[in-house]
Symmetry: C2
Subunit: 296 residues, 2 copies
Amino acid sequence: MDFNTKLYFYSKAVEKKLKDYIEGIEEKSVVSEAMEYSLMIGGKRIRPVLALAFCDMLSGEEFDINYALPYACAIEMIHTYSLIHDDLPCMDNDDYRRGKPSCHKKFGEEYALLAGDGLLNLAFEIIFGKFGDVEAEPSMKCGAILSSASGVDGMIGGQAIDLLSENKQISLERLKKLQDLKTGAMIIAACKIGAVLGGGSESDIENARLFGEKIGLCFQVVDDILDKTSSFEKLGKPIGSDESNNKSTYVSLLGLEKAKQLADRLTCEALACIEPYGTKADFLSELARELLKREK
Amino acid sequence: MDFNTKLYFYSKAVEKKLKDYIEGIEEKSVVSEAMEYSLMIGGKRIRPVLALAFCDMLSGEEFDINYALPYACAIEMIHTYSLIHDDLPCMDNDDYRRGKPSCHKKFGEEYALLAGDGLLNLAFEIIFGKFGDVEAEPSMKCGAILSSASGVDGMIGGQAIDLLSENKQISLERLKKLQDLKTGAMIIAACKIGAVLGGGSESDIENARLFGEKIGLCFQVVDDILDKTSSFEKLGKPIGSDESNNKSTYVSLLGLEKAKQLADRLTCEALACIEPYGTKADFLSELARELLKREK
């Protein structure tokens, strides 16, 4: 399979499974509708794709996508919940997400709050076996990685630093810490979970972690660049919001050129982490390059 | 140990362990401070106490409180997160909780949002072994019970019905469904988790479930009664809020006298569920009676 076919295969499988899970909710209401809206509104599905790709690469012939999909979907649910809560008026107050009204704009704040809570919770319900499609051992391992990445020592901790840094010039070091937690932790978790599910050794899991760290950081640098250089049409949300919100970004701290150089260097470093896997890593290498080149 | 000594023993053990867990957070910030504030602001600790008491009763001589405490604390964290999010301006907009400023009044909405998210997440981190004090088998079982009770087919589903019922006269049947999910599910989960941890048989777990169902419903009926008959001083929050919010309650639908009779009957039915355990159930019987008599 070439890169685009494989990317399509992974992301469609994730989307179908996400839909199945939402359909499996018994208490249908505005909350489950809002959960579905935000989950299915699109997005690049990078995190679940990373988990599937690492599992695929390390499993080889024995790769069974159904074994990895519950965890890939749990990762995407937690990512989506964080976007819903981040967009709320008391946080970033964003009216748009992926070119469509953000969850609270569409359903109201109270339902967006509960939809976020519901998705975070549903991710863990899946890992604890709500739908009977997981096994205990990988669930305990992957649940530990995921919950730690999404928690107060991970993503939520990063959001806390983000709030405290508003309207403030912060140092490059502080910005890196913020992004490592807010964006990096979940991307790293996705790579590690894929490696665990693929039966990877300790050194495979460490390679996955390091690859995730590099592309996670690169992802954020590119985000900052796009907020400066892209357009509403391409990005699906207003550009220039970092500057108008007085946010410190890699672009504001390094300048556009140096930020671009940093993104290039991080991608090279990421590629080095998966070099040991030779052509088996072709998909992940291509993905890293695509994430660098992306326009949205 | 008499009832009050045992209640004190259980609740102090929970509070100490909750404090340990909060101290175990690496990323100290306003968010972790807000998590601690809401967790330690007091409260009756009924849910964790129920879990400990069921485990104690069924384990007999072999009861080891440290085995059950992580799960008891996870239950209390999820309960606390739900109160924080429920108090937010877009939900019930409550300025007080247990006689003190609610979390968002004290720390601001954005930090209260993240503190709630952080507590929900931390509960699952604990069950997945963040602090190394749990075992895989009980964690998978108790995690499944807990996450299902707190999710969109449990507590969050109940909150959704609650929102949809605002300013509306709803039927007694609908009110029961709402409360079964919003309040009942987590109380039932606490009892079932205690029974599982105590090595209970299927029939013990079913007794625990039924006991939880009865006292959970009774708890809500008494809440509705107190909102009518108590005072700010006793309750730690304004009374009459149900009436001023036009909420359907057991008191508004049945009248005060019939609501009191219902609470009595439910307590009797709860006591019948634990009769098979004889004097070993003394603590739980007394607890059920105390919950009926409570003034706050």
